[in-house]
Symmetry: C2
Subunit: 488 residues, 2 copies
């Protein structure tokens, strides 16, 4: 447990982020460059995310399966854009054992492989090779599969959760008889993600479509959910790709339709990852540390006892234990902190970890049949009759969940400006924080030029409100209204 002070957001936002990851005990860098260790508290958060998402996927008819971690090099090469997108940063397995080198006395790679294997940076190719065997007839469609897996991308500049060489994710892969149905599925999963982000992570989402230059390597088009972090930058929180027949053709995923004719399937893939944890920190955290939205929190309530001697400890423990039991019966995730530590030390630890609600019980409280409830998000205190703690806790957790979302939404709205003049745009991006709504001509060159000059990218063409109503920043006729921002 670190007891180092957390850098403030104002002072250095990047350092604040890393300090919170450490202070909340979520993850750390490992001895393998760019690979992280997800610590128990961070992993418990990931397990909650998995549980909720997994249930949501299953409701839409998706089943889980598992596919090989290795992808033959030749599979990658079959889809030109795909290999282009991933060849520059992938872990390549070239040997299958270690052997003693007699000259140096050291172990060296031996048993060279005929064909190198790539550690999956995404699994379209290996999964669709499998789909080509699973899909024969229109009766086998739609095929709706998801995989929870680890992924490796050889990132040069890494950052815990946000960009790491290895990360955990889910990747959904579906195959459909028609283009329309595939496109609907790709859009449906964006709705699932949006619902999850807004209603569980309390992070407001802008959903839309990526531009051609920002889409997934191998997709016809990429849909995305984008979120604003507290420094005004965008986080691409999840993507869903309409793959068209780009993989179906090289991997021969085809079926006999009702007329007995052979057709290629239409496909989608979609994913979210441990990156969401980074987003959660940056959307809600404050200078005291992490703030967990109650619906996703590994620990929703901590009951901290206050005492100055053994006798007091005994008295408050009875009441505290009883309360913990009652709260657990309500289905809440609760921890009792009755350690022999100063109250301040105990409070600070759970604040750093972002536990939504702290309940304090001291000898006086026991005497008065009261307890003190402290909200993590606002630091507000309430003194509550011990008999009403359980009901009040449930209300407060709902209230915190709602209030975190509203706060983030207000923040996003306040930090989003409509600007259609390039000078003003440039100045805003350079000097202020937030998203810019602007008309865009639809030209990739214009997009690239703006990116080069300002480092801002088009985050998406939003599903809602993307009709142009004026000229592009470059002066040409606007085609869409889009969201520009600097991004993680």
């Amino acid at each position: 447990m670190s007891s180092k002070a957390i850098t403030t957001r104002k002072e250095d936002y990047s350092q604040w982020y890393l300090d919170v990851v450490e202070a909340a005990d979520l993850a750390e860098n490992s001895s393998v460059r760019g690979c992280m260790v997800i610590k128990p508290y961070g992993y418990a958060l990931w397990e909650n995310m998995q549980k909720i998402l997994d249930a949501k996927f299953k409701v839409t008819g998706v089943a889980n399966a598992y596919f090989p971690i290795f992808i033959p090099k030749s599979f990658f090469e079959r889809e030109a854009q795909h290999v282009e997108g991933f060849a520059k940063e992938c872990a390549v397995v070239t040997h299958h054992r270690l052997e003693m080198d007699e000259a140096t006395g050291k172990l060296i790679p031996a048993g060279p492989l005929d064909e190198p294997l790539i550690v999956r940076p995404t699994s379209e190719t290996i999964i669709y090779d499998t789909f080509s065997r699973w899909v024969q007839s229109y009766r086998d469609l739609p095929l709706l599969i998801n995989q929870w897996a680890n992924i490796v991308r050889w990132e040069m500049r890494t950052r815990l959760f946000l960009r790491s060489m290895e990360f955990l994710w889910q990747e959904g892969h579906t195959a459909h008889a028609t283009e329309k149905e595939a496109n609907e599925r790709a859009r449906q999963m964006i709705e699932v993600y949006k619902d999850f982000f807004e209603n569980y992570l309390a992070i407001p989402i802008i959903a839309g479509q990526k531009t051609e230059s920002e889409k997934f390597a191998g997709a016809d088009c990429t849909y995305c959910v984008e979120a604003m972090m507290q420094d005004g930058k965008a986080l691409q929180a999840g993507t869903s790709h309409m793959l068209g027949q780009n993989f179906a053709k090289p991997f021969n995923v085809s079926f006999l339709d009702e007329k007995g004719e052979n057709q290629f399937v239409w496909q989608t893939s979609w994913g979210v990852s441990t990156r969401m944890i980074g987003g959660l920190i940056m959307a809600h955290g404050d200078d005291k540390g992490m703030i967990m939205p109650p619906r996703i929190a590994p620990l929703q309530v901590v009951v901290a006892t206050i005492f100055t001697n053994e006798k007091e400890k005994e008295i408050v423990s009875v009441v505290a234990n009883d309360l913990v039991l009652k709260l657990k019966e309500q289905g809440l995730s609760v921890k009792l902190d009755d350690r022999d530590e100063r109250p301040g030390v105990k409070f600070y630890e759970w604040e750093k970890k972002g536990v939504p609600l702290r309940i304090e019980i001291g000898p006086k409280d026991v005497q008065n049949k009261k307890a003190v409830l402290v909200r993590r998000d606002t630091s507000e205190k309430q003194i509550v009759d011990i008999s009403k703690v359980s009901a009040t806790t449930i209300d407060l957790l709902e209230e915190i969940q709602k209030s975190l979302f509203e706060r983030a939404l207000l923040y996003q709205k306040n930090k989003t400006k409509e600007i259609n003049d390039f000078k003003k745009f440039e100045k805003f991006i350079a000097e202020e924080e937030g998203f810019v709504i602007a008309n865009w001509c639809g030209d990739e060159k214009c997009e690239a030029e703006i990116k080069e000059k300002t480092k801002a990218t088009i985050r998406c063409i939003p599903f809602e409100g993307s009709e142009a109503d004026g000229d592009c920043l470059c002066g040409k006729k606007g085609k869409y209204k889009v969201i520009f921002a600097k991004a993680y």
Copy 2:
């Protein structure tokens, strides 16, 4: 779905096994040599195993975390036996990108790494490197961590679930202040596994200790759970290792004890894997396919409707739907099969998949307010009043669970012989099936000689009844009574 006939066990047990994996739609070989694809039905079984085990681990105080997939070569080299055990079969990552070779126009590995990385064949080294940072004081102990992960071992002869290049598993890793406590934890986890195998998978277990020559590479000693398959061979179903201080020393996992003195920790590691699915098939399956014990079955009940025309279909569907709902309310996992297929086709499919109980409803049944319940394990049929189906189903599932275990236990007892004469031993192993209980002198050379001559190995020195009561097969004085068998 395969409609190919399943080879009988008598005909060819190995082929029967592969046929059942295919017929039950559990897994298949992928295009990557030795790597399997776990299909949705097989993965749902794995998810059930995970859920139950995970809860059992957590009850004992274990928390989940996640560690890097890559292990630096130098980490392996720090524990001599460990590297010896794994160097011969590991995937070695040597490059971090693919680059176009201008001469051939092909992508070739580029960006050579300074130090090769090994794809984890087990994670002791990378985890204990992390533990060395997590453990400082006796207050940090015991440290009880588990990881659910994928593992790669470059096996030359692979077999779905039983031996594959990549498999899924859990690996628990703990650190303790004392040798005694570590040893107790290693033994405790064997009890957890035994409980899981016997009470959920319905597979009787012989728990014991491995001999020196069969223990884990780097352990002081290895405890194991061994199970008998229907061909009389043993399956090592799970292991728990007392690692002593063998890793603590090279990885410097040490702590200040209560006296302020620096001490190395004592460690354990323990794991079970997707291999359990192979064990489940071979313990219970029959010539019709898989048999799932109800407590682990992805589908516990299938309700299959019988009809010859649309009107009948409509009538039976109403009753069937109602029944499915009632069974689901009981917390059961139920599927309605109302496809327009012949009853035989429907029944056969769920038989192959081993669904413990089938409920048939046809127009006559509806008229008589009855349903037909058919046990997968015994094929016994019962005609039951529709109002009593729900209660009877619950009883029958319990009965099937119990009966599968008892059948397997009886089988194991009948196929276990006590033999203390080498000629008889050799003949038994060559011509019959099963386990042999025999006195053993404790000498590794004797053990190796028996293995060479008969292919039988010492599966374990059982926790119960291992006191020698006569001479070893080699004629020397017996030290232990052990279990010999051929093994997977």
